[in-house]
């Protein structure tokens, strides 16, 4: 069953000129993207900013982007009952999967492997259990272990198998790509625009990916609550935040489940990851949100080109990196 709330609250917003003016104390820059598209992708708000582009070129590009998003949702989205992913979830076997579903699941499984299961694309039954529980009794506390246990038993990424021309999942398993699908779509859309010669763009489908800085060389500025903004020139930023999508009265639970306990993870307030690929950044931010500081250090030893920032519940900032890191910086406080 798809989640009830398709849009997830934005922890991060983009500095367009208007937003810059609204930021308390923020410098009012002429950082205006010349053309902006707003739509919906993978059930979330989507924005693409085109810097210094002819309206005609932007329109042509957008027609292409909308078709591409539509196509990818047909493969990866849980909000479409006829998507390949939903068909896989219904029967446990999908024949002739598209290359995009295969690649997205391949990326998901590789992050699961790297993170020792902190990230797991098979957590969908947990989500469904929580949603059912809170739908039935909105004011109740967290569901008891007896409810959680059967769902948790179905969570195991190792049971997913990518076979020649088929994808198979274990009994009672259901997959979600909400932990990296938006990132995956972001990557494909950004690279598609690049093939059209459009580089000065920022694709923001929940994760922000830039192919190049703006035409004047200035970075894209990505703001976040209560901390210095990021300056993004290349690659993607993804943020996981428990408060992004809360369940139950008073926020008893949220969507980022620890697959090992079946409970919403609570170590960090917020984790932001930068990587060349939005899909990787997206999945890693979920994985790191669930992991402990020691685990995060271990995970980062297995990947390259990653920088991660975390804020704990005492509002302390943490930062780890696995070089080479390129394309992102924190803006110095002015």
């Amino acid at each position: 069953m798809p989640p009830d709330s398709p849009t997830r609250r934005r922890a991060i917003t983009i500095f367009a000129a208007a937003a810059a003016g609204a930021m308390a104390g923020g410098p009012a820059r002429s950082a205006r993207a010349d053309y902006a598209w707003r739509g919906v992708a993978m059930g979330a708000d989507a924005t693409i900013l085109f810097n210094g582009i002819e309206p005609e070129a932007a329109r042509a590009a957008i027609a292409m982007v909308e078709a591409e998003i539509d196509r990818l949702e047909g493969a990866l989205s849980l909000y479409r009952p006829d998507s390949e992913l939903c068909r896989l979830n219904r029967t446990g076997l999908l024949l002739e999967p598209s290359g995009d579903l295969r690649r997205a699941i391949r990326i998901a499984l590789s992050i699961s492997s790297i993170s020792d299961g902190s990230f797991d694309p098979t957590v969908q039954p947990l989500w469904e259990t929580y949603v059912d529980w809170f739908t039935a009794s909105p004011g109740a506390g967290l569901p008891p272990d007896s409810i959680i246990a059967p769902a948790r038993a179905a969570v195991d990424w190792r049971k997913i198998s990518l076979e020649p021309d088929a994808i198979r999942s274990g009994p009672d398993q259901r997959l979600t790509l909400n932990g990296l699908g938006q990132g995956y779509v972001t990557d494909r859309v950004a690279e598609l625009l690049a093939t059209q010669g459009l580089k000065h763009i920022l694709v923001d489908l929940g994760e922000q990916r830039a192919l190049a800085p703006r035409q004047n060389g200035a970075p894209w500025r990505v703001a976040r609550e209560g901390a210095a903004p990021f300056r993004l020139t290349h690659g993607a930023l993804a943020t996981s935040e428990g408060s992004g999508c809360v369940l139950g009265a008073g926020g008893a639970a949220h969507h980022l489940f620890d697959p090992r306990t079946g409970r919403s993870a609570a170590r960090w307030k917020r984790v932001t990851v930068h990587h060349r690929s939005a899909a990787i950044a997206d999945a890693l931010s979920t994985a790191l949100y669930i992991a402990s500081a020691d685990e995060i250090r271990a995970i980062l030893q297995r990947v390259t080109g990653v920088i991660a920032w975390a804020r704990d519940h005492d509002d302390r900032e943490w930062c780890w990196s696995s070089p080479p890191v390129d394309g992102v910086a924190l803006e110095e406080a002015s």
């Binding site: 196509r71 690649r103 020649p164 899909a279």
Partner: protein
């Protein structure tokens, strides 16, 4: 934002005048790609679309300079009106009255674009207004600009349901690999190992080598499919598909195989997909035929080549853009989607526009008739008879030059042949075919070399193109004189009129050689001046090129404003007293040819050792006084008329031969020597 895009665009509102008979109309802002503005009647219905040819098709004139015509076309494909708004065409700037040009352009009103689309090699090349006399190339360009732009606008505006644009599956034509690649019928993407390793998150120690070198083509249209696959495979593949299905050819070389091996087991290809809009089309082993090698001339050798049959039922529409997604394989570690894409759009020439002439029973003929070969091919076909005559003329001339000793040894035959040839040059090449080469051609050529050479521009005039090709070769062999003496209509006009004058007893003026030699310099100065000026302003250079009376005398047959006529007339008049007066001292084209002609290979003009010392007959008789009093022929000035050669063999004229005959009365004539042949 709209205004930003249309900043340099012409003002389309003048298009409202084209529809003035429909009462008040409004011209909206230009939109779409290509940009065009909707013209609406007062009741709101669409009367047509206005556009600028420069915006739509980047129209250029003969000199490669912008040419902008604002025109409007009705939804039915009728040109509502056209007006030239900007234009730097030098050939038109001078000589063609503005009114005549405006009338010519306005004459496109009522021209049926779609009937024009049915053009086929035929004599009715221009069903619309034909060309403006004396400015053939540009006027064909004008026609092309209006017709092509109208079609492009109509195509973009035609949002009728499917079937308005079809793929041309009938027209047969063979194309080379290079031309298929050049027109975009074959698309290419090279993925280096550096790029692949970045996408796959791996290291590569040979980053500059190809990971995969991909080629993609829609093989359905015969010119693409048959050229690439060869007739046998193409036809066997066609036999396997339905009338609306398509063939796609994918080829690759490099480290990575796009086919992989999984398909043998699973029955479908995993490494690549065809993507069109929101559709993903996966390809099955059953739809696949391996191909050994590409058939087209010049095609590279590829490691794997495959043809895939794509059924229309898959939703694939070959008239629309699509792309190939190739998965680069499993990333070594956390890396994003490792996919490369290759975009494809079938070039417009393989599409057939809205088919309202559909109910023709003979489908093949109908669709063949509605495709359009490149403009220059139409022109060549339409002028094929003139080209054939020119070809024959050039063949004869080549014969004269190669067998010049034999020809000139028969004096009477030579003089008659030459007179006949000159008449042909003057009346056929000059007055009939307007094939008068000009220094303007030289400038255009130099500027084309400077700003990006395009064969198409020169192919637009087949006569001039053929002539120049011949002149280039003859110049290399014998010098610049072959053109000047035999193929220049104005030159022959002067020579013929001078002969007439001599017959009528007009006394010729002899210019002392010392002065004569110095007057030669004028033409070089004129040429260098024109060339130098052209670098600053080609327009001014073309105006200065009016030093040439060619256009007035030959192309426009003296039907021009009086100052031009007076000038050309004076030159011809001067030519009555001094043979080829203009050629000798003024002609910048002669100068332009003389300079590169210093590279010539052959010195075939014969002289006796005694020439110049004992006798000056040839020098005095020389058409352009190119023979030095000391006997040498100056090849820079020589027009290769061969008169001196006829004299050389003429026992009545040549003093040397006469003397020898007297000396050795009883003996047969000795072998002439050419040890005194001129050296440059």
């Amino acid at each position: 934002m709209l205004t930003a895009g249309a900043a340099q665009a012409a003002d389309l509102t003048i298009a409202s005048q084209f529809f003035s008979s429909n009462g008040p109309v409004t011209v909206e802002l230009p939109q779409g790609s290509p940009p065009s503005a909707i013209v609406r009647a007062s009741d709101g219905h669409i009367l047509g679309y206005a556009f600028s040819t420069l915006d739509v098709s980047g129209s250029v004139g003969y000199a490669g300079r912008p040419l902008d015509i604002v025109a409007a076309v009705t939804p039915e494909g009728i040109v509502a009106g056209a007006r030239i708004v900007a234009h730097e065409e030098p050939i038109l700037v001078i000589g063609i009255p503005r009114d005549a040009l405006a009338a010519y352009v306005a004459g496109f009103g009522g021209f049926d674009i779609r009937a024009g689309a049915a053009l086929k090699p035929a004599d009715d090349l221009a069903r619309g207004p034909h060309a403006v006399a004396g400015a053939t190339i540009t006027s064909t360009v004008i026609r092309d600009a209006i017709v092509r732009s109208s079609r492009a606008v109509l195509r973009s505006r035609d949002n009728a349901p499917d079937g308005t644009v079809r793929l041309d599956r009938e027209t047969l034509r063979r194309s080379s690999w290079q031309s298929l690649v050049a027109e975009g019928a074959v698309q290419h993407r090279l993925v280096l190992r550096a790029e692949a390793s970045k996408l796959l998150g791996t290291q590569d120690n040979e980053p500059d080598k190809p990971f995969i070198d991909l080629w993609l083509a829609l093989a359905t249209p015969p010119p693409i499919g048959e050229s690439l696959l060869g007739q046998r495979i193409y036809e066997s593949e066609l036999a396997k598909i339905g009338p609306d299905d398509d063939l796609v050819l994918i080829g690759a070389s490099g480290l990575y195989s796009f086919k992989g091996t999984e398909w043998r087991q699973s029955g479908s290809f995993e490494r690549f997909e065809i993507v069109q809009g929101n559709r993903t089309i996966r390809l099955k082993a059953a739809d696949y035929t391996p191909v050994e090698a590409l058939h087209a001339a010049g095609a590279p050798e590829l490691r794997e080549i495959a043809v895939f049959r794509i059924p229309r039922s898959s939703g694939f529409d070959s008239t629309k853009p699509f792309r190939l997604d190739v998965d680069l394989g499993t990333p070594a570690q956390a890396a994003g989607p490792a996919v490369v894409t290759l975009d494809y759009r079938i070039p417009d020439r393989y599409l057939i526009g809205p088919a309202e002439v559909q109910p023709s029973p003979d489908r093949a003929a109908a669709s063949a008739a509605s495709t359009q070969p490149p403009l220059w091919q139409e022109i060549w076909w339409a002028r094929r008879y003139e080209i054939a005559v020119l070809g024959a003329m050039l063949t004869v001339l080549a014969g004269i030059l190669v067998f010049q000793d034999t020809v000139t040894a028969h004096g009477v035959f030579y003089f008659r042949l030459r007179t006949f040839y000159m008449l042909l040059t003057l009346f056929f090449l000059g007055f009939f075919a307007n094939a008068q080469l000009s220094v303007v051609n030289v400038l255009t050529f130099v500027h084309a070399l400077l700003s990006g050479f395009r064969w198409e521009l020169f192919l637009l005039d087949p006569m001039v193109f053929t002539l120049w090709s011949f002149v280039a070769v003859s110049m290399l062999f014998w010098g610049r004189g072959v053109f000047c003496g035999w193929l220049c209509p104005f030159g022959t006009l002067q020579e013929l009129t001078n002969h007439l004058a001599q017959r009528l007893g007009i006394k010729q003026i002899e210019i002392p050689f010392g002065l004569h030699e110095r007057l030669w310099m004028i033409k070089y100065v004129v040429f260098v001046g024109i060339l130098a000026l052209s670098l600053r302003s080609i327009l001014l250079a073309f105006q200065l090129a009016e030093v040439e009376p060619f256009k007035t005398a030959i192309t426009m047959k003296f039907a021009r404003e009086w100052p031009f006529v007076l000038y050309a007339g004076l030159l011809v008049f001067a030519g009555l007293f001094i043979e080829r007066f203009y050629c000798r001292y003024l002609c910048p084209l002669g100068a332009a040819l003389a300079i590169p002609a210093r590279m010539r290979m052959f010195e075939w003009l014969k002289r006796y050792r005694e020439c110049g010392s004992e006798c000056q007959v040839c020098a005095r008789r020389c058409t352009v006084q190119a023979i030095h009093p000391l006997g040498q022929i100056n090849p820079n000035e020589c027009i290769y008329c061969l008169k001196c050669q006829a004299n050389y063999f003429d026992h009545e004229v040549c003093l040397h031969l006469k003397k020898r005959a007297q000396r050795r009365q009883p003996l047969p004539a000795a072998r002439p020597t050419n040890s005194n042949a001129p050296r440059a």
